[in-house]
Structure formats: structure tokens, C-alpha cells
């Protein structure tokens, strides 16, 4: 598929979701996936301000612990924090050059195999509500076209979180931000239940959760909450359903608990 076609399909699919009754957690994960498909980067994640002065990760293109840690580190330092505080995009074409500015972040990013990082602001009028974070495996600038598409995706994320076309005031913004942050915690709790029940790592647990939500046409957050509340039998989520897809391949050696 050509780049143009991928781009229009991504935006059409996001727009379709926005007019329906969508789950914000699911939509933000799809948006992170679109970033990886559409832009010259290897991983993407969305961080939201928790209104206590911290940034929290809410969705990522991969749920490996290694990548999530790169977002969590930016609680204290990193391009996302600078982007959030300054309200403008922060681009780091070569992470090695940023070792003085963010020693821990630069070291961990390189150790995870990434060499360029870009942070784009999620803006609502005068407020910055979070950032879109992009990681590349090679040093280099983000091409202008990619920066524009990335910013458009960040804007879609903002709209998705606010869930209202015209947010009337700060009170609604606060309500929706806290809602999105809580959804993320419920998903983490559900990942833990599935990881333990199915002897899975956290990325596998998230994949099962997401797949089951799709197969059963359930909202991701509702399914996660059902698993944690015990109203959904987690064994049915851990065990793939043969009716909808082929059985799992034979078990590979278990991935290290990253």
C-alpha cells in the first residue's frame, strides 16, 4: 500500500471511531500503532499530564516493559517533560548528544536500541495536556512531512481524550483527563491478572486483552475492568478462542520477564 493510501486510511479509520461510542484507551493505542506505520520511527507513545505536575504514559505502540520504562523515566527528565513544559515540539536527532541534558534518559534510550527521539505537544488552546513521543532506531531529524503528520495525530489524540467536540471549560478537561489516566491503570491491573493466569509477559498479556476485546466487540477498558472486578472469566481471555482465530503456535521458550 502506498504512503498516501495508508495515511488516508488511518485518518478515515480514526475519524470513524471518533463519531461512534469509542473507548479512549483503545483509540489511543491504535493511534500509537498508526504513528509507527505512517512515520519513519520505530516506537510511539502518548503521555498525559496528571494535573499534579507529572506526565503518565497512557498508550504505546508496544507494551514491552523496556519501552514503557522510557516513558516512565520522563517523570523526571527527557524530551516529553521539556515539550510539555515549553509547549513546543522537542526533537533530538541524536540521543548520544543529549547525554549531558538527560543522562539517565539518554543512556536508557540507547540501551533500548533507539537513537532519535521526538516529542510533539498535545495542545488544547492555551493548555498542553500531554505529549506524543516518537522513537527512531537511527539518528536523524524527523522529516517535515512526518512532523506534520505526527502533529495531526497528536491533535486527534487530544480530541479523542476530550470526547467532546467543543470542551466548554477546564472542569470538563480535568474530568476527561482523569478518566483517561484511570483507564490506563485498570488496563495495567488487568495485564497483571492475565500475565499470572497465563504465564505471559506483560506485552503478551496486553495482546490477549486487546484481541479478546476485538473478538467480543467489547471496549478495551470495560473488558479490563471486568477482569479486575471478576465479572469476566480471565481464563477465556488467556486462552485464545478457536472460533475466531487459529490456535496459538506451539509455545516458544518463554520470553525473559522484561
Amino acid at each position: 500500500m502506498g504512503q498516501e493510501q495508508k495515511l488516508s486510511e488511518a485518518f478515515v479509520s480514526l475519524a470513524d471511531s471518533l463519531v461512534a461510542d469509542y473507548d479512549v484507551a483503545d483509540l489511543l493505542h491504535r493511534l500509537a500503532d498508526h504513528c509507527v506505520t505512517l512515520l519513519d520511527i520505530a516506537a510511539a507513545g502518548l503521555m498525559l499530564a496528571d494535573q499534579r505536575g507529572n506526565l503518565q504514559v497512557v498508550a504505546a505502540s508496544s507494551e514491552t516493559s523496556r519501552l514503557l520504562e522510557l516513558f516512565q523515566l520522563q517523570h523526571d527528565q527527557g524530551p516529553c517533560l521539556d515539550c510539555y513544559r515549553g509547549g513546543t515540539a522537542v526533537s533530538v536527532p541524536d540521543v548520544q548528544q543529549a547525554a549531558d541534558r538527560w543522562p539517565v534518559f539518554a543512556a536508557e534510550t540507547q540501551a533500548a536500541g533507539y537513537h532519535s527521539v521526538h516529542a510533539l505537544p498535545m495542545r488544547l488552546r492555551d493548555d498542553v495536556i500531554g505529549t506524543l513521543n516518537l522513537f527512531g532506531t537511527r539518528p536523524g531529524r524527523l522529516p517535515d512531512a512526518d512532523a506534520r503528520i505526527g502533529q495531526a495525530l497528536a491533535d486527534v489524540a487530544t480530541i479523542a481524550i476530550l470526547q467532546e467536540r467543543a470542551i466548554r471549560h477546564h472542569e470538563m478537561l480535568a474530568e476527561q483527563l482523569q478518566h483517561a489516566l484511570t483507564s490506563r491503570i485498570v488496563i495495567e491491573q488487568a495485564k497483571g491478572v492475565l500475565a499470572e493466569r497465563g504465564n505471559l509477559d506483560m506485552a503478551q498479556a496486553f495482546d490477549r486483552l486487546r484481541r479478546h476485546a476485538r473478538n467480543t466487540n467489547t471496549r478495551l477498558t470495560d473488558l479490563a475492568r471486568g477482569i479486575v472486578d471478576g465479572t469476566v472469566d480471565s481464563t477465556t481471555v488467556v486462552t485464545p478462542q478457536p472460533r475466531h482465530q487459529p490456535p496459538d503456535p506451539p509455545p516458544s521458550p518463554r520470553a525473559p520477564a522484561t
Binding site: 494535573q51 499534579r52 516512565q72 477546564h170 491503570i185 491491573q189 500475565a195 472486578d229
Partner: protein, 241 residues
């Protein structure tokens, strides 16, 4: 300017001194002195979905909190149902339609703004903090941050009181403070889920057990959570994978 560290220390100092039975009353009084609000109340929900222990800064706030449960409507209910804060800076506006019985009672008591915050950690829902204010208008940025911190401290205090009770030693209130930053880490929530499955307990009980283990071992909840997620530690005493 919001100073989260200082606010947490002040609230904890309030909680540490005095009888446990009135701890939530003291926390509500602390919220009123720290925030630009005039009244505060906390209601805890029970596992059965009913209403348990409560606290308030003053009798009028306590009454208005009660009234929401009697009437079956109000920001408390909405915050509990939706799992996010319900912030109404001006009760003379659309709120009259939203809560037709409750709103006139609040206005008659002299308050024009009400803000309800769920006490929750993901799927763990413990109760609601209600804040009342005479003057209408939104909670501005710093006041909102401070209100969220009061809700965080209330939530973790409830969890940690149970954690200490389950072990019978160690006092979270005398330590460096509930390591609230640990609650920002994904591993704590993932480990909560794993412990649920290991012990066959609720999410709330699993988090209590995790934090109790941390206090007893003199470690942070974050460190214990990482060990659980990495399968270096199980809380059911079972063999490590």
C-alpha cells in the same frame, strides 16, 4: 503555587496525631485549610456497594454528603459511577437540572460550587471526597492539583491502614510517607493484578498485601512490585517460575 510535597507532609502530620476513628474528619479539616474551599466530606463505599465510614470538616458538609445518599443523586454518585472527578463551579447553572433535588439543598446551605473526587486506583474504588465552596467559580490549576493530592493521600492512607492492620506491625504514618510516587509506576498496578491471581483476592486486597509485604520487609512498594512482575517474588509462597 502548588507544593505537592509540602501538602502531603502536612496532611500526613494531621493524620498521624489523634484517634484513628476521627482520621477522616481531620483529613477533611486539612483539605479546607489547604484548599480554597469551605467544606469537605469523605464517604467510603463498602464492598457491597453501600456506604461505610465517613468523615467531614463540619456538620453541614456531613449533612450534604449524607443527603446525596438519601436522595440517590449528586456529584458523589456521578463521580463513583463514572470513575472520574465531577467538578461543578456554578450550581446555579445547568446543575439544577442534573440533580433536581440535591442542588437546591446545597444552594440553601449557602454553597455555590461542589467538586467530587473518586478515591480510586484503577479498578479499586474506595469512596468519594466532596469539596464545597461558598463562592462560585472553577477550581483553578493549583487548587485542582492540591485537591487531587488530598484524594491521593486519602486513598493511600485507607490502603495502608489496612496493610498495617493485616501485619500488626510497622506504621506507615510514622515512616517517610506513603510512597505515593510508587503509585505512578505501571509495575505496581501490574503486580496488583498478579497478586490477585496468585492469592485469589480482590484488587484492593492484593494492593493491601503488596504494600504490607513492602512495609514488613522495609522496602518500597515499587521495589516489591518490580520483583513480583519479574517473577522473583510471589506472595503466595509458591515456587518461582
Amino acid at each position: 503555587m502548588s507544593d505537592p510535597g509540602r501538602l502531603r507532609r502536612e496532611l500526613r502530620a494531621l493524620l498521624a496525631h489523634g484517634s484513628d476513628a476521627l482520621a477522616l474528619d481531620r483529613l477533611c479539616a486539612g483539605a479546607v485549610s489547604a484548599l480554597p474551599v469551605d467544606g469537605a466530606a469523605i464517604s467510603l463505599t463498602t464492598d457491597a456497594g453501600g456506604r461505610g465510614y465517613t468523615g467531614a470538616s463540619d456538620p453541614v458538609s456531613a449533612h450534604l454528603d449524607d443527603l446525596q445518599f438519601t436522595l440517590g443523586e449528586g456529584p458523589c454518585w456521578d463521580a463513583a459511577r463514572h470513575g472520574h472527578p465531577v467538578l461543578v463551579g456554578d450550581l446555579t447553572g445547568q446543575a439544577a437540572r442534573r440533580w433536581p433535588m440535591f442542588t437546591p439543598a446545597v444552594l440553601a446551605a449557602g454553597y455555590q460550587a461542589i467538586f467530587a473526587f473518586p478515591l480510586q486506583i484503577g479498578a479499586i474504588r474506595l469512596g468519594i471526597l466532596d469539596l464545597l465552596r461558598v463562592r462560585p467559580g472553577p477550581l483553578d490549576g493549583d487548587a485542582l492539583a492540591d485537591a487531587l493530592i488530598v484524594a491521593d493521600v486519602a486513598t493511600l492512607t485507607l490502603i495502608d491502614t489496612a496493610a498495617v492492620g493485616s501485619r500488626g506491625h510497622g506504621d506507615p504514618l510514622s515512616g517517610p510517607g506513603p510512597d505515593i510516587f510508587g503509585m505512578y509506576r505501571a509495575e505496581v498496578h501490574q503486580a496488583t493484578g498478579m497478586v490477585m491471581a496468585q492469592l485469589g483476592v480482590s484488587a484492593q486486597e492484593a494492593l493491601v498485601r503488596l504494600r504490607a509485604h513492602a512495609y514488613a520487609a522495609g522496602r518500597t512498594a515499587d521495589e516489591v512490585a518490580r520483583d513480583i512482575v519479574a517473577r522473583r517474588l510471589r506472595l503466595d509462597g509458591g515456587r518461582l517460575g
